[in-house]
Amino acid sequence: MSEVELVKKIKLLKTIKPASAELDVIGKNIYSHLGIEQRPETFIKFGSQPVIYFGTAFAVIFLAIIFNINNLLPNNIHTLITYTKITAASNQYEKAHIALADIQNKYGTPDMIKSSNSEDISQSLTLTNNELSNLKLKGEKGTYTSQQCLALYKTYLLYLEKLNKNIPDNGQPSTRLLKSTIAKYKELSEQKLHMYK
């Protein structure tokens, strides 16, 4: 049996899954265990159209605002929101786009870069690089093009150069590590750029 056929068989195991009602019960138990009051579902289905419960409309609008001004929030919340957005994205191009936009937003100017913690920058950079490196046209054909990937990588490379230029050369181990990470990602991205051309 070829590897392709074997993998196809293995993927049959994806059909093993609990009913959604079961997951709802587990969800309720979790909230009960944690002593958290369960909020109403953000969306309900009316026929095939999602309808927002009146009581959660505020929370949804509020979250939409927060998603756009999340650079004012503490870093861990910001990261969680970014990750949630990435998780909810429908394809890998969107995920990569969100991650890249987020890091440019958070560490876009020389002042922002200089006043930020190297570890935080490194974490965001790793997330961005991971999402970009997961771009592959195979399997997601039709949802995004090689031209879009090329444009994204060009933007990313420009950003890496800017980031590297503005990181202070203070001799700190964390700064040296960040600079060497940027150099590595730059090299990998240049290779990818040729692939999409």
Binding site: L13, I16, I26, Y83, N130
Partner: protein, 167 residues
């Protein structure tokens, strides 16, 4: 404000990953009710870490790592060795198959590959499941299993080779 954001984010992540985590845990313990408990424990632990404000780089990988830890803790506390049963899959997990055409032969195929996978070494099962069934990338699997990426690649290659011999 912060707790509302955390709650909603947790809700999104739960909906996204609960099903896969349940399946992963079930594969390791082969007990439906135990899987329910361990899935619950996994998310409870995840929430506890979340509210402490710990920076989590990859939430998906982090969740699977917790799940693996919970299974390990269970067997350690119970003093049981890992079950390597050749049990049939609990019917409650095959509901979606009943809705498709030719469900009987599909069920047989699924059970066959399930039983074959259970015969593999635990390490091989983990990497194959995480990569091909739960769609984790190599670097994510490396984090879950606390191994180097190259080691994961080698395990995946050897795992497939072993499985091919018995399928």
């Amino acid at each position: 404000m912060e707790s509302e954001i955390l709650y909603r984010s947790f809700e999104v992540i739960y909906k996204q990953f609960a099903q896969g985590l349940f399946r992963f845990i079930y594969f390791k313990v082969s007990d439906y009710e135990l899987t329910q408990d361990l899935t619950e424990d996994t998310f409870v632990r995840y929430w506890q870490v979340l509210i402490k404000g710990v920076n989590i780089e990859n939430h998906k990988a982090f969740l699977y790592r917790i799940a693996k830890g919970k299974v390990f803790d269970y067997y350690r506390k119970k003093g049981k060795s890992r079950r390597i049963g050749l049990e049939k899959i609990d019917e409650r997990l095959l509901g979606v198959i009943d809705t498709v055409e030719d469900s009987i032969s599909l069920k047989q195929e699924v059970e066959q590959i399930y039983i074959r996978m259970k015969k593999l070494k635990k390490e091989f099962q983990d990497v194959i499941l995480l990569h091909y069934v739960e769609d984790l990338e190599i670097k994510e699997i490396a984090f879950v299993l606390n191994k180097q990426e190259n080691a994961v690649r080698v395990l995946l290659h050897r795992g497939l080779r072993s499985l091919r011999k018995i399928v």
